[in-house]
Symmetry: C2
Subunit: 301 residues, 2 copies
């Protein structure tokens, strides 16, 4: 278990301030980032909501990113118990910093039931063991080593099936496939597993919208996640190999829209993900200040 993994798992250990108010810490040390990672806020908000639900496990979450998070102070999560039913419960969570909402989540919880089953088949892909690690890719592509180092700061082992977003020419189809797993033991608690899945599901996904258009999204675009949604279909350990298939369905008006699926190595569809992303061209907006803390730029006209 790596230190970066331990630091991430610690993020899910929220401090309970009041019955429905929680405080989440920030990662320190090597895991610190210039702004708060969206997956962290979503995972902590989901944990806060889960702490207020007695029966059932989360089966879906819908969230909006409202403002860039400040990584130098904790985040407070206020939970609203909007509904407690017999087999479903629903929660709303607002993440607050500096007196302002930075993130809003709604999530639904379901007691276990039986029912009909079907699912999309898993695509036919190489096994994760037959694919290079990001460290091996960085050694072969020294130009992109810094970008792979960025990935290596995440608590995840990733094996790219399609070319990583940093090793490509313009004009690719807006699709990505990779194997991933948390690089440590998340434990047997399904809540922790689903919070960690949520954390990881916000990685790589946003770059999918850029693949047909630019060579290096980080240099040429101002990007931000606008929303993030996860539906949890089947029990899964995110610390075991998980196939993540992502596709951008459309881009227009400075926004792209991605849908994605996660499969277990045995082929079970374990989660579906959706995300809309902001994608502003920096080159054509010389008057636009792209700050680390800035979610939004100037509007047209």
């Amino acid at each position: 278990m790596s230190r970066r993994f331990e630091a991430t798992l610690d993020l899910l250990d929220l401090e309970r301030i009041e019955v429905d108010i929680f405080r989440g810490r920030q990662p320190g040390g090597e895991a610190a980032r210039p702004r708060v990672f969206g997956g962290q806020v979503a995972a902590q908000a989901l944990m806060a909501a889960s702490c207020t639900v007695e029966a059932g496990v989360v089966h879906s979450l819908h969230s909006y990113f409202l403002r860039a998070g400040d990584p130098t102070i904790p985040i407070v999560y206020e939970v609203d118990r909007i509904r407690d039913g017999r087999s479903f419960a629903t929660r709303r969570v607002v993440a607050i910093q500096h007196g302002e909402a930075i993130f809003n989540l709604q999530a639904s919880f379901h007691v276990d039931e039986d029912g009909y089953t079907h699912q999309d088949p898993m695509p036919d892909v190489p096994a994760p063991e037959d694919l290079p690690t990001t460290a091996e890719l960085a050694a072969v592509h020294p130009d992109a080593a810094a970008r792979f180092g960025f990935i290596d700061a995440w608590p995840v082992d990733m094996r790219f099936i399609t070319d990583p977003p940093y090793l490509r020419s313009v004009g690719r189809a807006p699709e990505q496939l990779l194997w991933l797993r948390a690089d440590g033991d998340v434990g047997d608690d399904p809540v922790a597993q689903r919070c960690m899945l949520t954390f990881i599901s916000d990685m790589i996904l946003l770059s999918t919208q850029t693949l047909p258009h630019v060579g290096d999204s980080s240099a040429e675009l101002m990007m931000a996640s606008l929303d993030h949604l996860v539906w949890f279909h089947r029990p899964h350990r995110i610390d075991e190999w998980t196939l993540y298939t992502m596709r951008s369905r459309t881009a227009q008006g400075a926004r792209g829209f991605m849908t994605a699926s996660m499969f277990s190595q045995s082929g079970a569809l374990v989660a579906s993900v959706a995300q809309e992303g902001l994608m502003r061209t920096v080159a054509t907006r010389p008057d636009h200040h792209v700050g680390e803390r800035e979610l939004e730029g100037r509007t047209r006209g």
Copy 2:
């Protein structure tokens, strides 16, 4: 313009009770239903949110259905202005009846911008004019005439490309394609167009999850929409022909998960939709009371 269409358009004409509190009427006469149609609540909630936003048009909404709506009294919509930014605004709306939340929506609004464009291609399908109307289908299939009459009570002209959900054998792929359009003039206001699109997007979709499993979902299953999500990609008139392509990605644990796309007749991807649905087998639960007003049944064990 039919009376059923006029009655539906009238539903979008909310009464403003206070700055951020609105009241939505129920359809009367032939449009009355035993319980409130989910698309109506979503459309009215979106209209309430839109009435509080000065710049920008809705580009996405995420919502949960919490309790079955009572069609005999109006619905009150309370709007929370959680964020007003320079180019994005976010709203939360709670729909209330009898002192309880029946529905929760969050929506995001974006001022028009330019950006890169790509999209999924439209599938190759027959033209709507070459497909039978639901009245023509009902004449050929008298056994299912009542079900087509149900569709005819909706303010929409539908032309099924795949077999309608009432004309099929068990074991179909969980996919549906149809052309649809509002059967009256919605007008030039993009807000009204997107509210009407939201209303219509909740039709037919839920039955997609049943196609591999049962012969007539209305008789054999207790179903309900759990959530409903729409991303609006491009300007579109929902009173012009719109291709609706739906697929259930998975079903398990009494829940199915659908993703769907709407294309204009010229091939533009105008909206994406997602919905999770409850799908309980009635036959195997003889002790389960399925009431018109009941969203949830008993839990297992």
